[in-house]
């Protein structure tokens, strides 16, 4: 096990992952790490979404055949995970904004807990709606 002790001139490719070093006793670390990870995932998804939507230029013939693929189980599961990512990212964003404006500074752990819990609940509801309707 190596510890994150100081070394001169840590190169960027190592330094840029230091935010992933866990601090399990600080729930705010988990919120920050998940916010960043969900952000990366959502950016990649957005690029993929643009690519897929460009198929609309091919008219009904090009688009409607895709719907079967997107309605298949693996994609619906993926959609549920995306919902999880976007819900968490948004709620954590609200938490950060609230803290900046001075709300909840005395109860940071409570805020984290609420964000996690509400994200899980909404994801479960959305997953039920997506997968079973």
């Amino acid at each position: 096990m190596t510890t994150n002790v100081e070394r001169p001139e840590v190169p960027l490719f190592r330094r840029h992952l230091y935010w992933l070093q866990p601090r399990w006793r600080d729930p705010g670390w988990l919120a920050f790490a998940l916010n960043r990870l969900s952000g990366y995932i959502l950016v990649l998804y957005l690029l993929a979404h643009f690519v897929i939507l460009s198929r609309l230029t091919a008219g009904p013939a090009g688009w409607d055949s895709l719907l079967e693929i997107f309605g298949s189980q693996p994609f619906l599961v993926g959609d549920t995970l995306l919902i999880a990512a976007v819900v968490f990212h948004g709620l954590n964003g609200l938490r950060v904004t609230a803290l900046t404006f001075g709300f909840g500074s005395r109860h940071p752990s409570l805020l984290f807990g609420v964000v996690f819990a509400v994200s899980v609940v909404i994801t479960l509801l959305a997953g039920w709606a997506i997968l079973f309707e």
């Binding site: 001169p8 001139e9 960027l12 330094r15 840029h16 935010w19 960043r36 952000g39 950016v43 957005l46 643009f50 939507l53 460009s54 609309l56 230029t57 008219g59 009904p60 688009w63 409607d64 719907l67 997107f70 309605g71 976007v86 948004g90 964003g93 609200l94 904004t97 900046t100 709606a129 997506i130 309707e133």
Partner: protein, 153 residues
């Protein structure tokens, strides 16, 4: 420098920055190096834009998901349904609002990660410009695609 203390070169940029008595120029960080002209003003404004675009996204994305999936039998719109949806002015405005907010939020979000990693202010500026250009291109493309669907259907 003498003794076991190593010069704090990596944090402060220059060895002579490390000692009391150093008086930073107005607008400089204690390192004595400028990030960007007017950076002290811009950073807070960028944060506000990020927060506002995020709040708008909650609204627009919520509307988008409801309209595209919950209100549609089967959960996915076929081509005809997409076109008829976009031809309703409120829906069109909501989709364009979503597009604008998401592009702004994504560009600023990526930039926030870059600020942390990139030490050279020149490169930060170049990457920022590149991100905005890329965002602009995506916005133009998506608007064009929407226009094609609405008009030519």
């Amino acid at each position: 420098m003498s003794g076991p203390t190593r010069p704090a070169r990596r944090f402060l940029g220059r060895p002579d920055d490390a000692y009391p008595g150093f008086v930073p120029r107005a607008g400089d960080g204690p390192e004595g190096a400028r990030a960007l002209p007017g950076a002290a003003n811009w950073a807070g404004r960028l944060w506000m834009v990020q927060a506002i675009s995020g709040a708008l996204l909650i609204v627009f994305l919520g509307l988008h998901l409801v309209a595209q999936h919950l209100l549609v039998p089967g959960g996915l719109r076929d081509y005809a349904a997409v076109v008829s949806y976009l031809r309703q002015p409120p829906a069109l405005l909501a989709e364009l609002g979503l597009l604008g907010s998401v592009i702004v939020h994504v560009v600023l979000g990526i930039r926030a990660g870059v600020v942390e990693m990139v030490k050279s202010p020149v490169w930060l500026q170049r990457i920022t410009i590149g991100l905005w250009i890329a965002g602009g291109l995506f916005f133009v493309y998506a608007t064009w695609l929407t226009a094609v669907l609405v008009v030519a259907g």
